[in-house]
């Protein structure tokens, strides 16, 4: 914790993420307008009344951005939770039991990694009805492979440790060893992966919504705000600049936090 605090970028990152979460939670209180109602003339440039301007329909971009934060952060969080759960589960069992199970799981990981994942996601989204729940599930189901490899690697080293041997000697069963001894000791890299994974999931969601295959209008998400903005690049550039900057800042902050956690949690990195 102390080491994390000393990392300036990580502190800035976590402050921004914290602020965004608060903005997202209190969006209904903070938003000056209803995000899906037409409140003024269309494509008004930023002003005191509309800090981020209005969009092509005359909706307030600031209010939409606040509500968009809710959607984007939620999708990121849920998607990464799915990915981490699947990845950890596969990694734990493959690494611990080894043998045929291990090779089967790892070959499956290889297959999944040979896809350009955006392609798989796009295909699934076109085939299913694109909505916010499918987006979360699809992103989760296509981004667990890295975690599985990571956890498997951790398990392979941890299961040779003496405390695991000791646990086995006093008669602990496999289930207990995996969840009571191995999982807690491999949690550090999982936490780091979760932070970075959330950044990735937010990026993927925005790309999907941008192509019209993610969160569907009128629900605002940063990605579908950008989709609307594409046609008004000349008349209303703020419509494109603001959601993009928000994605950039959010993802960047998450990366800083993840990197800070990695440095704080790994004993190898020396602190300067």
């Amino acid at each position: 914790m102390k080491r994390f605090k000393r990392n300036k970028l990580a502190m800035i990152g976590s402050t921004i993420v914290g602020a965004l979460v608060i903005f997202a939670i209190f969006a209904p209180l903070l938003a000056p307008y209803d995000p899906s109602r037409i409140v003024d003339s269309d494509t008004l440039p930023p002003s005191i009344w509309h800090p981020f301007g209005t969009d092509d329909l005359g909706r307030d971009v600031f209010s939409r951005a606040l509500y968009g934060a809710r959607i984007s952060l939620t999708v990121g969080l849920v998607a990464v939770t799915i990915a981490i759960t699947i990845g950890t589960f596969f990694g734990l069992f493959a690494g611990y039991f080894g043998g045929l199970l291990d090779s089967a799981v790892m070959r499956f990981v290889d297959v999944m990694l040979a896809f350009p994942s955006i392609f798989l996601i796009l295909t699934i989204q076109v085939m299913l009805t694109p909505n916010i729940y499918n987006v979360m599930i699809v992103i989760g189901l296509t981004s667990w492979m890295g975690v599985a490899r990571l956890v498997r690697g951790e398990v392979l080293t941890i299961k040779e440790r003496q405390y695991v041997e000791a646990a086995r000697a006093i008669g602990a069963d496999d289930y207990r060893i995996i969840f009571k001894h191995i999982l807690p000791n491999s949690s550090a890299p999982i936490i780091v992966a979760a932070t970075l994974g959330m950044a990735g999931a937010i990026l993927t969601e925005s790309a999907l919504s941008f192509l019209g295959l993610g969160v569907q209008p009128p629900t605002p998400s940063w990605g579908n705000m950008l989709m609307d903005a594409q046609a008004y690049l000349i008349d209303a550039p703020w419509m494109a600049i603001i959601p993009g900057l928000l994605i950039l800042v959010t993802v960047l902050s998450l990366y800083f936090v993840g990197e800070g956690l990695r440095q704080a949690l790994s004993p190898k990195e020396e602190i300067k």
């Binding site: 999944m112 350009p116 955006i118 392609f119 993802v251």
Partner: protein, 323 residues
Amino acid sequence: MRKFVIRRLIHLIPLLIGVSLISFFVMHLAPGDPTQLFTDPNVKPEELARIRANWGLDKPIIMQYLFWLKNAVRGDFGIAYMINRPVTEVIFGRLPATLLLMISSMLLTLLITIPLGVLSAIKKNTWFDNFITVFSFIGMSIPSFWLALMLMLMFSVNLGWFPAVGMYNPLLKNPDFVQRFFDVAWHMVLPLLTMTLVSLAGLTRYQRAAMLEILNQDFIRTARAKGLSERVVLFKHALRNALIPIITILGLSLPDLFGGAFIIETIFAWPGMGRLGVMAIFSRNYPLIMGIVVLSAVLIVLGNLLADIGYALVDPRIRYAKK
């Protein structure tokens, strides 16, 4: 070495079967079939049934897959719906544009990333290093499609320096080779810039980490202790070793490169495989989707294999360990 390559090539077979199996079943996950996209009310139901039978969509999915697999093994990926030309022909018509973009971007990335990463490592914790670090993080966080839009806004809409979309100037009548070359290069600037900036960031981080790790090794201390000049130590001892991991990372980043191409080609209307793929997905052009997925997977896996071979070639430690 030959044994290693052959073994890896054999591994490819189940991998590709897995890839095709998953994509085939994912495609058929949804109820209905592509004929439902025909909204023309004049098409009679029996007409639709005939089309369905023609495309083999009336058979069970397993049979459809086995039929596809049987032909695919022989290099026949079927006829693309609507376009009515062989899938392979359609894809290979689009492949050069994609490869041109991807290979140029890869070369440009390497050309920039290696010096940046190495310099960043040598000057660790200076303002230069910090600047590069923050810059790479920004590059990793920027949504590629947004970067594309912003570059378009700046260089195409506001400044008017480069064309925003397409690959050729349609007004160019009977251009000779030189004219055509500059025309394409002109159109390629913005997509190339987008792709390069996006992949640059991550690779620079890796290059920096690789160089730092090498600089901490014993043989560098030995070289310095021998009294070799810093230049010789850095460029003859450290750099040569620090370049090795970048080969692997480049191989591993291929799926991202393909994924990026899908979106970037779509935005810039670049007539490549990625844009074709997005179109195929939206119109549920099953044979075309299958062809593109399998071809991308082949290219990705072959890329990884080439990276591994390259790794073994430049690093004698691996070569000897394999024997």
